[in-house]
């Protein structure tokens, strides 16, 4: 696996400009190539989940905090967009960043109490949080429509073009994915990304080097939540109807599966994860009740065989198997 990745990388480095150009043209032409709305629907899902799994990966993969209830943030983003669009008739393009910021603030509120604790507490708190958010969405009928949900969410418009179906909405998702990857890549390759990774690898050492770990963990969590909010805000006008059943814990596990299976700690991992898991979902449609069973088995298999995931950071603490091997070797050497 590692060799394949290296080879692909060297090919990419060689023909970088050509590949990027050809790739972008191909991506822009996708709706022309697949004019069927069924296939475009799947592709839109893949793009949406690239943002979701990718945002989750920034939290779980780069700073090794552990968020499980990511669906809660997705939910906040979607409801923020839907409520503000329906009630105050605010423009979709303005609502995207608003929903992102609202969700990031929610993320901050959730991670503040757990900053001093180990990551595993955060994991369970996010799970509880996700349930609370869903329960509020289900029960606060006057605001969220309760079990009836919110209907008739207005579609985005720009220059007189209406993004009414998956063929046109594809461009919105593509645009967001491109921005997400571009921005995240830059953040990761800066002092901020390095601070996150130093926390992942050894928090105590990071602190001894002057990294304010609490602040960076909070920032990391907010960044991840922000993109869940963006994804939610893009999703609500896509389906034009949302209710609380879209945002269950299973949805959170669905996103988590993509990040874990595709691989954490790299940008490409969640992209691969979203493609693999969404295609698998389509394959398993005839036996759709086994869908999550299949993901579960894949997750366990991944942890047994390749804990960093398919395209995850093999040079990181996420690739725990090699660490164990090395520890055993060192022990043997010490004994000899």
């Amino acid at each position: 696996m590692n060799e394949i990745i290296l080879k692909l990388k060297s090919i990419y480095d060689k023909y970088k400009i050509i590949i990027i150009l050809a790739g972008s043209i191909l991506l822009l032409l996708v709706p022309v190539i697949f004019p069927k709305s069924y296939i475009m629907g799947i592709i839109c899902r893949i793009l949406l989940y690239i943002i979701l799994a990718g945002g989750l990966n920034v939290i779980n993969g780069y700073s090794s905090q552990f968020c499980i209830g990511y669906a809660g943030f997705f939910c906040i983003g979607a409801y923020t967009e839907a409520i503000l669009a329906l009630r105050l008739k605010i423009n979709f393009w303005l609502l995207l960043p608003i929903a992102g910021i609202v969700t990031a603030i929610a993320g901050l509120l959730i991670c503040l109490p757990t900053l001093k604790l180990k990551g595993k507490y955060l994991a369970l708190v996010t799970l509880g949080f996700s349930e609370i958010v869903r329960l509020i969405a289900l029960n606060w009928s006057s605001l969220t429509g309760g079990p009836m949900g919110l209907k008739g969410i207005p579609v985005p418009k720009i220059f007189g073009i209406e993004f009414k179906n998956s063929l046109s909405y594809y461009y919105i998702f593509l645009f967001l994915v491109a921005i997400f990857l571009f921005v995240t890549r830059r953040v990761i390759n800066s002092r901020i990304g390095r601070a996150w990774m130093s926390i992942r690898e050894d928090e105590q050492a990071a602190r001894s080097l002057g990294v304010d770990t609490s602040m960076y963990k909070a920032l990391n969590f907010m960044y991840g939540a922000f993109w869940a909010g963006i994804a939610g805000a893009a999703y609500a006008p896509y389906t034009r109807y949302i209710d609380s059943t879209f945002f269950t814990l299973d949805e959170g596990f669905n996103i988590l599966s993509m990040a874990i299976i595709g691989g954490m700690g790299t940008l490409i991992g969640p992209v691969a994860g979203s493609i693999v898991v969404n295609l698998l979902t389509e394959l398993l449609r005839p036996i759709s009740e086994y869908r999550l069973v299949a993901y579960a088995i894949l997750i366990i298999a991944m942890m047994w065989l390749r804990p960093q995931g398919l395209f995850g950071a093999s040079k990181s603490i996420l690739a725990g198997k090699e660490i164990v091997k090395k520890a055993r070797k060192a022990e043997k050497e010490a004994a000899a």
Partner: protein
């Protein structure tokens, strides 16, 4: 002479265990200060108190005239105290250069926007980390290893990387916890020279070490801990001739603690 680090009556108890017990200590600017003592004497714990890893049970610590008792480790690091760890704490899965780049964290101020837009602040920070990082790597003689994963280096080199990473903070005081452990005699010699050289360049250094020759030859003042208590402090000659120190290391006729002298 200016006092750089001062401990007043510092104690640390773990449950009933008095790991550090009422220790007073002064490190002056320009010192190479040695801390010795048998295993479990509380040396590492004392460093952990100074660098803010543990809160103290009692007493106060002053750094550069400022009370730093119970401050967070990252704040103390920002004030100019850098350290290494007895059980090396490198970022094993990052290259040597990346490790050292993280050491420049406190000297850079890239914000989220700077990183996204590649502003001049970002460019300056990256340039600083890259160039100064290479400079430090060359100084510790690891130029050929800059792209190797830190965890894959032999122990001796890992210790040097850790020192290099601490130097990236450009600290006023450098705390080294058993820097020679795991080094071969040649590496140890080189390390001694390196520490002296750093001292000439103006760094104040505190070092915990078991190797007596190392301590006697590099340090200008030495403190001896035993069972958490300070039993002796002075220049190498004085410590060498101190009766209590010899007893602590060898016991009164019987070997009490496994000191390696």
């Amino acid at each position: 002479m200016k006092v750089l680090l001062e401990a007043k009556n510092v104690s640390k108890h773990f449950g009933g265990l008095k790991a550090v017990d009422n220790v007073d200590m002064v490190i002056y600017e320009g010192d190479i200060f040695g801390i010795i003592g048998p295993n479990g004497a509380g040396k590492t714990t004392f460093f952990n108190l100074c660098s803010g890893v543990f809160p103290v049970t009692g007493g106060e610590i002053y750094f550069n005239g400022e009370n730093i008792t119970n401050l967070r480790p990252d704040i103390i690091a920002k004030k100019g105290m850098a350290r290494t760890f007895q059980n090396i704490k490198l970022f094993n899965y990052m290259s040597v250069l990346e490790n050292i780049k993280i050491g420049f964290h406190i000297h850079s101020r890239t914000r989220m926007w700077d990183a996204i837009l590649h502003t001049s602040v970002y460019k300056r920070d990256e340039k600083l980390a890259e160039e100064k990082g290479m400079e430090i790597i060359e100084r510790v003689g690891l130029k050929d290893y800059k792209d190797i994963l830190a965890g894959n280096l032999p122990y001796g080199m890992q210790r040097m990387v850790e020192i290099a990473r601490a130097l990236a903070l450009d600290p006023k005081l450098l705390l080294l916890d058993e820097p020679a452990a795991g080094m071969n005699p040649n590496e140890t010699m080189a390390l001694m020279e390196f520490i002296k050289k750093l001292n000439h360049e103006g760094y104040t250094i505190a070092v915990i070490e078991h190797d007596m020759k190392f301590v006697m030859n590099t340090c200008n003042r030495i403190m001896v801990l035993n069972f958490g208590k300070k039993i002796c402090e002075g220049d190498p000659e004085y410590v060498r001739s101190n009766k209590e120190v010899n007893e602590a290391y060898f016991g009164k006729g019987i070997v009490v603690q496994g000191g390696t002298m």
